[in-house]
Amino acid sequence: MRRALTVVSAWIAAIVLAGCGTAATSGGAASQAPAEKSLILATTTSTQDSGLLDELLPAFTRDSGWQVKTLAVGSGQAIELGRRGEADALLVHSPAAELEFVAEGTTGSRRLVMHNDFVLLGPKDDPADIKGASATEAMKKIATAEAVFVSRGDESGTHAKEKGLWPKAGVTPGGSWYQSTGQGMGETLRVASEKAGYTLSDRATYLAQRGSLALDVLSEGDPGLLNVYHVIEMTKKAGQLVQPEGAKAFADWIVAAPAQQIIGEFGRAKFGQPLFTPDAGKDESTLGQ
């Protein structure tokens, strides 16, 4: 009896001690954090799922001394986190929503970083016959054929782009052929592939996962399909704990030559073509020309 209790309490004591130990070390890490300088970057799933951030962030930390906590969420959520002062810098691709957000006056500068493009994907047999059509024409055909279209449905930049295309095609999507996942690009591609449906994706995420998908690029190159990324700095106006100096360090770094070179090279070795085009300092209206 007593031995039973002793063993049990020894075990509990062991985990509690282990817990205290880790609590102490993590407490230590937390108290060092201000010295280590750590900023929160809210960004889109495409930059994480494509692997770009894995190349960029270690280089940024090495150059600047800032650690980065990345929250890879849809652009809508990223902007909301910025609005609440929960993030220091945003790297997002939802230009219309960004301009509205900047107009609220809590942000610092918003600068062009890079672009790639969106592509309309679908099954190889292409039941709605959209191959080679322009984006709006293709969307109209998909709706007319009532072919399965898988939407992100998560207020991300990709979702915003898709929602902007339907009115241009003169279609109000709805009905059983229009399916909304509410998930990131990787999961949505998977769903579209399994359901042999159409979907809109950024090219980077598609190329990074192409091998495991039964989806082909069916419509591309339309100027309306540009996918433009901006970096936005947050200021103290969004919240007392925002770190504008961290935001500035990140934004200045990502538009400078070394980072732009990493962006321009990213994916060339693995996919035979770069996934993003670096655009810092360019005029946005000249992109894609």
Partner: protein, 233 residues
């Protein structure tokens, strides 16, 4: 099906080659979930014992609340903890969000109701005469309580295993309050989700298998303690 086999091969390879990232993810998973379980036991044992043994108004409501808490979705707990820890939240100034400490807080909140409910159930099923006997034998209340815990040790250890199993396998709260930051708050479940969304299925399966393996090791050691004591009796 190839994916499953590749996953198994990957899991073995990651473990054997001492892949730095996988080991640190595994170590963090253990550290966070064991600490959360320990905290849940520290809080849940006295609470569960009180509900089981004391008589006070609202006791049944407290028990029902604990039983409901057993089914609380981790993502809801994660959302509550996130809002509390936000920079704009009540204790946002501590800068705990997206740290392992935040994950421990959330997981302890998930595990505590489980411990409370199972401890209460375990102590209630001990023969009521047992306590009367202990008092008749002249045991102090503390001795009597310790003896009671000894009597109920099988279900008590089962409570610890249930609590650990719940937190080590949850992904919603870990993702939300931890943020799945590489090298800082990435645990096996969130790593598996990320690998899945990147289309790296065999890697995701490998993380899943490692998770199963460490859960098995922890439960094996608890079960050995549990059953050996039964044999000694």
């Amino acid at each position: 099906m190839d994916v499953l086999l590749d996953g198994l091969v990957d899991a073995v390879r990651l473990l054997l080659t001492g892949d730095q990232d996988s080991w640190s993810i595994t170590a963090l998973t253990l550290r966070v979930s064991l600490t959360a379980t320990a905290i849940a036991l520290l809080l849940g044992l006295p609470l569960g014992a009180t509900i089981a043994l004391a008589r006070f108004p609202g006791r049944r409501i407290a028990l029902a609340a604990a039983n409901t808490g057993m089914g609380m979705p981790p993502v809801v707990v994660g959302l509550f903890v996130t809002v509390l820890l936000w920079r704009s939240g009540p204790i946002g100034g501590l800068g705990l969000l997206y740290t392992p400490t935040a994950m421990v807080i959330a997981q302890a909140a998930i595990a505590t109701p489980i411990v409370v409910a199972l401890v209460a159930a375990a102590l209630q099923q001990v023969d009521p005469d047992f306590r009367v006997q202990m008092q008749a034998l002249g045991a102090t209340p503390i001795r009597a309580f310790a003896a009671l815990l000894g009597e109920a040790r099988l279900p008590l250890l089962a409570a610890a295993m249930a609590a650990f199993g719940a937190v080590v396998s949850e992904v919603g709260a870990a993702q939300m309050v931890g943020g799945n930051l590489a090298g800082q708050t990435r645990v096996l479940t969130t790593a598996a989700v990320l690998a899945t969304s990147r289309g790296q299925f065999s890697l995701a399966i490998a993380f899943g298998l490692i998770l199963l393996l460490i859960a098995f090791c922890v439960n094996l050691s608890l079960t050995l303690i549990q059953q050996r004591q039964t044999a000694l009796r």
